[in-house]
Amino acid sequence: MNASITDNRPGRGRWRRLRRVLVRDRYLYLIMLLPLLYYLLFCYFPMYGVTLAFKDFKPKLGILYSPWTSQGGMKYILSIVRDPYFWTVFRNTIVLNLLNLLITFPAPIILALLLNELNNRRYKRVVQMVTYLPHFLSVVVVVGLMNSLFSSSGIVNSMLEGLGLGPYPFLNAAQYFRPMYIGSNIWQRIGWDSIIFLAALSTLDMQLYEAARIDGAGRWKQTIHITIPGIMPTIIIMLILSMGRIMNVSYQKILLMMTGSNQSVSDVITTYVYRRGITNADFSYATGVNLFQSLVTLMFVILTNALSRRFTETSLW
């Protein structure tokens, strides 16, 4: 209504402040430009590409302009839900991961406890250095090692034959797939995953042990009553974190281990997506299958974050 208002309107002031801030931070925005572009092009654009699950993909039209499918865009989603094979790979994914988690999780903790009991520092360092190594081998190399050692004429089978056993079809038969997958995971990760627990062990208060010793507690009792409770927070955090990854099997390894005869247990969601999507160019269907995986993962992350906040006072957000 009068001239003096124009300058004092709250909107105006906010705009001016924003402009001042933008000018002040202009170099930071400039630095941010490339990373932002990266996230938009290679993370958010593919995220939008998830809509493909509801579209009939036409290569000429691309992700953006392909038409929506019949049944209100749900054509592929419905056929996935009705596909019994989808439920097989869904179950395979969860079973493999739960077994893997149950069996591989305690291994590095035990290793850390054993390392902690060593009196000889140098020996401890050598064991650590050696057991960390497999973490740096590629999946192709790990599967290559497995194939050489466990083939029907490989050294494991010839040793078993020496005992009058076998040969066992470790690499082909369905019943050996899970043990081989999980066993090689332990082999590859036991050392590396123990680092975090060793770090937790190194922060424990020596005075507690001193006091326990005076009370006459032996090493075993000290381990049960001081060491393990002491690293329990770390154990819980690591357990929660790995639950958040419950759907992430190492499909790259599985893809290399998969044979015609173990496919009934080794085929998981991501390997199925690869075959349907990349090999058969069934893009919409495969995207839909992947979407199920992403949603279940997201659910688990939210759930574990809630658990984590509740039990450990640490959370991701």
Partner: protein, 293 residues
């Protein structure tokens, strides 16, 4: 101290030391076995008689893969690793710096954009079609751009940047230095140790990756080493003739088994050579990563 020398303690110590020695043996033996297989005569390998020492030592297998396309694939792998790692480090630092500035006005939205990608992604197929749509299929860019930033590593770098005292940057700011200068002249030099660790993580990841190349690379001349190795695992010697010159094939001194073993050794050698010297840096990386900022 008394209990430390009790009998049960001593028994436990012997058990513990033995167990860990066995663990080391199980860890190292597969690689050692590959090595002795690769320098043994193919017929001995086929008979399955090799276990502790190589038999009828010959370098025919190495001669065969060297005369094949090994060096081409190795050159590709080195190129992808070097270019990929440089892009990773530059992009990660560029993303980490603004996120580490406490009074940066765009910090919250940018953090949200970055964090969300940790929990949800488009998945394999949309990314594949995206790469295709950008026209970078079958080129080095398909291998180095889609993973230009590993968000976990980037957050580690951000945490490191954040730990640098503000007083150091403030005085530079008063002298008129802008953020680009501060990042380049102050922040990065002070974070060298962590950046070295990240360099190693990124480089190992590039060297070891095979799946990206399987998705995006169609021309054989552009294959990295890991793909060569994968094809040898799936197929066999003559499934991939250009990989391997047929040296010694007639006398069976070179077989699928020895070739595979030699390829595994060659592919892993760079890591085995570097590993003892940089192992401590790797461990440090895990430690920083676990101390969330």
């Amino acid at each position: 101290m008394m209990q430390d020398h009790s009998t049960s303690r001593r028994v436990f110590n012997v058990f513990n030391i033995t167990f860990l020695a066995l663990l080391m043996l199980v860890t190292l033996y597969p690689m050692y076995f590959m090595f002795i297989t690769s320098i043994s005569h193919g017929v001995e390998v086929m008979k399955g008689t090799i276990s502790v020492l190589p038999k009828l030592v010959t370098l025919d297998t190495y001669r065969a893969i060297v005369q094949g396309d090994l060096f081409l694939y190795m050159k590709n792998s080195v190129l992808y690793t070097v270019v990929g790692t440089v892009i990773n480090l530059v992009m990660s630092c560029l993303a980490a710096y603004p996120l580490s500035r406490r009074n940066f006005s765009g910090r919250k939205p940018f953090t949200a954009i970055v964090t969300f990608t940790l929990f949800f992604s488009g998945g394999m197929i949309p990314l594949y079609l995206t790469v295709n749509a950008f026209g970078i299929m079958d080129s080095i860019w398909a291998l180095v751009l889609p993973g230009a930033i590993n968000t976990y590593n980037m957050i580690i770098i951000r945490t490191t940047f954040q730990a640098i005292p503000d007083s150091l940057t403030e005085s530079a700011q008063l002298d008129g230095a802008n953020d680009i200068v501060i990042l380049w002249k102050i922040i990065i030099p002070l974070s060298k140790a962590v950046l070295a660790t990240m360099l190693l993580f990124y480089a190992v990841a590039h060297w070891n990756s095979y799946f990206d190349a399987m998705l995006y690379i169609n021309s054989k001349a552009k294959y990295p080493l890991q793909i060569m190795l994968r094809n040898m695992l799936i197929g066999g010697l003559f499934a991939d003739e250009t990989t391997v010159a047929a040296t010694g094939a007639a006398s069976f001194s070179v077989t699928d088994g020895t070739l595979r073993a030699a390829a595994i050794i060659v592919t892993t050698l760079p890591i085995l050579i570097v590993y003892p010297f940089v192992q401590r840096h790797f461990v440090k990386g895990v430690m920083i990563g676990s101390l969330k900022g």
